[in-house]
Symmetry: D2
Subunit: 329 residues, 4 copies
């Protein structure tokens, strides 16, 4: 069934989702809402949609689903208003930077019977999805260790760093979700080290740009995560899981398979530049999943509870970094 969408937010990630809607034969973008009227108009025009307001959009019975891709501080409110209006919700991570606010939001969501999907796009990357599928299928026996590497090509603007909630809530939250998903359980303890090595200005803001976090589950499975806000060779996104029967690794992807051998070395492509390139297909795949959930009345594979767990792990990491001790969940 064709689903009519209203999209809140017309920024960079908003454009990604609007493109995904246009490319999906079961989706139609009817409204775009953004505090920046020009951005809303530009995006709406490009996709044959209309500019609207939150109230008008949620009141329209034609609208079956919303995409929340606006600024983080609006996410929880928009989720709540949308489910109350009977709309299915696809919300960008994070639900909120405050765990308390997320808890309230979870309550509201649970009280309304609507599909609510949190956009942890990496779960829909073909390589990570295959790794998870092989793991669940027993390809490496019993899971024992995980290593997750996430490095951005370059740090965001300082203005963004200030409102981002910090590296753990903004960047490593993806890795916390990846860990939670692969572990299949919520870790019981978190230990974090962090440094400001990339840009001292980030350190002055009280944030870190380099971090190493370890998670531990009840059964003793261990997970190591490393993050850096800068990798000059491109977006570095790798996962390795190790078990009683072997190891699964999901590596980076590159634009071409060209290898040049000359008098210096053997040279191949750098990893794809950043998330828009690496996860281009994943954005389409998560939208397709969301639409399938609506049409088949199935609970999305990434719920608001998952969003809450990722934030809990981020909060615990921050507490660990500040206290210098491991923190229980």
């Amino acid at each position: 069934m064709m689903i009519n969408f209203c999209q809140f937010g017309a920024g960079r990630i908003g454009n990604v989702h609007a493109d995904a809607i246009s490319a999906n034969e079961n989706a139609n973008l009817k409204y775009v809402v953004d505090v920046n009227g020009d951005a809303a108009q530009a995006l709406a025009s490009r996709h044959g949609a209309s500019v609207s307001s939150v109230g008008e959009a949620l009141a329209d019975p034609d609208i079956r689903a919303v995409i929340v891709a606006s600024s983080t501080d609006t996410h929880a409110d928009l989720i709540e208003q949308s489910v109350k209006a009977g709309k299915a919700v696809f919300c960008e991570k994070p639900v909120d930077l405050s765990l308390e606010r997320v808890n309230d939001c979870v309550g509201i969501v649970n009280a309304h019977n609507q599909p609510v999907f949190i956009g942890f796009n990496r779960r829909f990357d073909a390589s990570f999805a295959k790794l998870k599928s092989e793991l669940d299928g027993g390809a490496i026996g019993k899971l024992e260790m995980i290593a997750i590497t996430s490095r951005d090509p370059s740090p965001p603007p300082l203005e963004y760093v200030k409102v981002s909630g910090g590296l753990f809530r903004d960047m490593m939250i993806h890795d916390f979700d990846m860990a939670h998903w692969l572990l299949g359980e919520v870790p019981v303890e978190v230990f974090a080290y962090g440094s400001s090595l990339v840009d001292p200005e980030i350190g002055k803001l009280g944030d870190v740009d380099t971090a190493a976090v370890t998670l531990k589950t009840k059964s003793g499975v261990l997970c190591q995560i490393s993050n850096s806000r800068r990798a000059v060779y491109g977006y570095d996104q790798r996962v390795e899981v190790f078990g009683s029967g072997g190891m699964l690794q999901a590596g980076n992807r590159s634009e071409t398979s060209v290898v040049k051998s000359n008098a210096d070395s053997v040279q191949s492509d750098k990893p794809l530049l950043f998330f828009l390139e690496r996860y281009a297909d994943a954005y389409g795949a998560e939208l397709t999943h969301f639409i399938d959930c609506i049409n088949n009345a199935v609970t999305p594979s990434v719920t608001i509870e998952d969003g809450k767990v990722a934030l809990q792990l981020a909060e615990a990491a921050i507490e660990s970094l500040n206290s210098g001790r491991p923190v229980g969940i």
Copy 2:
């Protein structure tokens, strides 16, 4: 500028091109023409186009360009009618199975000032395009040798083999074009060996399913091509160029980057299944190039002359196979 297209042919490759038109923001599919009315209607409906006839479509001044994706024996006629009607032409390879017929068609095309593009899609594969660009940029000095490997996952139906013109005209023609493109000149001699090892029925039809061809240029550059109609591990499409300053290789692509290490071995993905998967992006890229040529009044990078050269090389290979001797061009 938005280009209105009429597409001749609603089969498998026709669907690929229609999808590419839909995905291209500068293209619109107005008409679909096919002798199979149901196929035409299905494709047209899926893309909001109308079913039409050759005559009606070519008479419509709104139509700026045509895609020729019908059966091979109609290509030359449709190219000629289309350029006479003032339409730009994107034609699937080959132009025709007869070199004489191609020569006539080239004459007609040259007499009409319309962009005519031949769909040698592999030139638009990101890896092969980068290899070519590096080669032309001098990355490996002076070109000395080329090796091209092309293997299909499984042979086509015997019914298709009968009308295909044989392995050299139907399958290796892509490699002849690749060789011609990379060499930057027309080879002066061709030597071919061929066998029927995959399916004896193919041999009974007078065709081969396994072939090794060598090309030589005036300056002594050598090119080896190998083809097989069956590769159980997937579509094997690789190019290697070697020069005074090094080597460039373009390898296969796979669906994921997952590597599994277990007690048996270290296992990674097979190559992508077939041309629809491997060249998915290339089909979009060649359409974009064609549209750019129309809008900027530029000659396409793959002309009908290139189509003719590829067929000449195929004819020479067949003559070599039959005579047991190298054949000059």
Copy 3:
């Protein structure tokens, strides 16, 4: 100059060193000493050496150097007796399982002007050596993070586990040395998680078989280490260093370069089986280095101080594991 050696210890690693001596054109094995007379005789015969005693061997002025490859609890004594006797010492790791004992030994060594080399063989692996050399040469700018993976193919016998000093002193000690070497400084803090997932019997002995440790330097550089006593796909020994200008990775080595592509997957060799295979060349290279140090009166690149640091880090890791908190050095 030809160096005459006495070797203490005729077990598995003793055989490795005796082979290295035989293969080195500047070395000669004169004596073998072992409490197991048969083992001593067998090794001596194989290399044209004589069985001897500690006293006799150290009293022989022809002996310029000793290899200490006996059981761990004899290392410190043999080092001390040897340097007092004016012999250069090549000692297998660890110096001792007790930090106090190591400190005493360091004192004795410092009081005698003899080359004392600790056999951290991994530093002499061609891949790790190149990684270190590139790092020191500035290939990736300023060092920011390290990740070290060490997994043995299968756990040692429980009898060995009992006297090994535990995973941190016996196995991860190599990784602590690798970290110390690559960091170029002694970390200031260690945090350890460990589990018994491979074999519950190991856990019953109070040891772990799976561990994740994080190190932090004064300047904030972070190092993650992971260990497992079992990797069914072979000996997994990898190092990754990350800096302001890029990343260096040293991966596993395999016996052949053969890749098989079939209907299932693309399969390549597993990593080399275990340390004898992976570090076969490294054992020769470290002996060559030791001989060069003697002949050129140069301090070995791995000193007894390095042995002490590795043990300090192991002790700190054990304390962290037991206390559940990071431990300062």
Copy 4:
């Protein structure tokens, strides 16, 4: 049983074999013979051997085997004299540059019951040996195509080119043997293209430095070989075999596994420099095989007949190059 060797030839390859003898616990080098007395003396001294003459060495009943590593024009004579004297023979390729002379030599060898081994070292490379073993074990079903790439890092001195017998007899002869070995049968036809692209002086000597040869068997299996006298990225030695059930590839080896990712690209090691590096272990392995054949009275896996076939293929390739036509065997 310990085998006493006399070695004819004290040049570069002679040193390789003498080192292999020294490293082999079942072999002893007793005599070295070379027309260059200084070279003979140096090699003999380095290995505790004596300088001798052909007559004296062959008359010594202690000598069980000879290594023929002298100049090519002495090979056939030394093989004949040695088997007549009751010695086992390990002869470097080629047996002779003249097929007639080789035929005579085969006759003499067949009339004397001695193991005669021809040093096609590549068969003992771990990767090629595994590829052959997998092929024979049915890993890829029925063999259909082979591709062999052989490129030297740089051309030999022109003085050597003059006496080498040309690229086909001197360099590609290794690939002809590889093809013969992998095919498991003697090809029935050869077609050769060759060019002088690397150094025009080689062309002036009537030789080629770049060549592409195709072989065909009775059953239609095809084999493509490419050679170049120069590859600036190192010694390029690869084999690919393709069959009804898949593909086996044996690639190059490198000194380390280090991968550097920086702002430019992802860089790994070049292939090992040349044959001494790439085939270091193969030289030891072929000697071990030869000694096993002597001790177990087994026919060597590479016979003088194999040497003859390789030369036949080279002769056919030369005739094909000169005549411009395929040549039957």
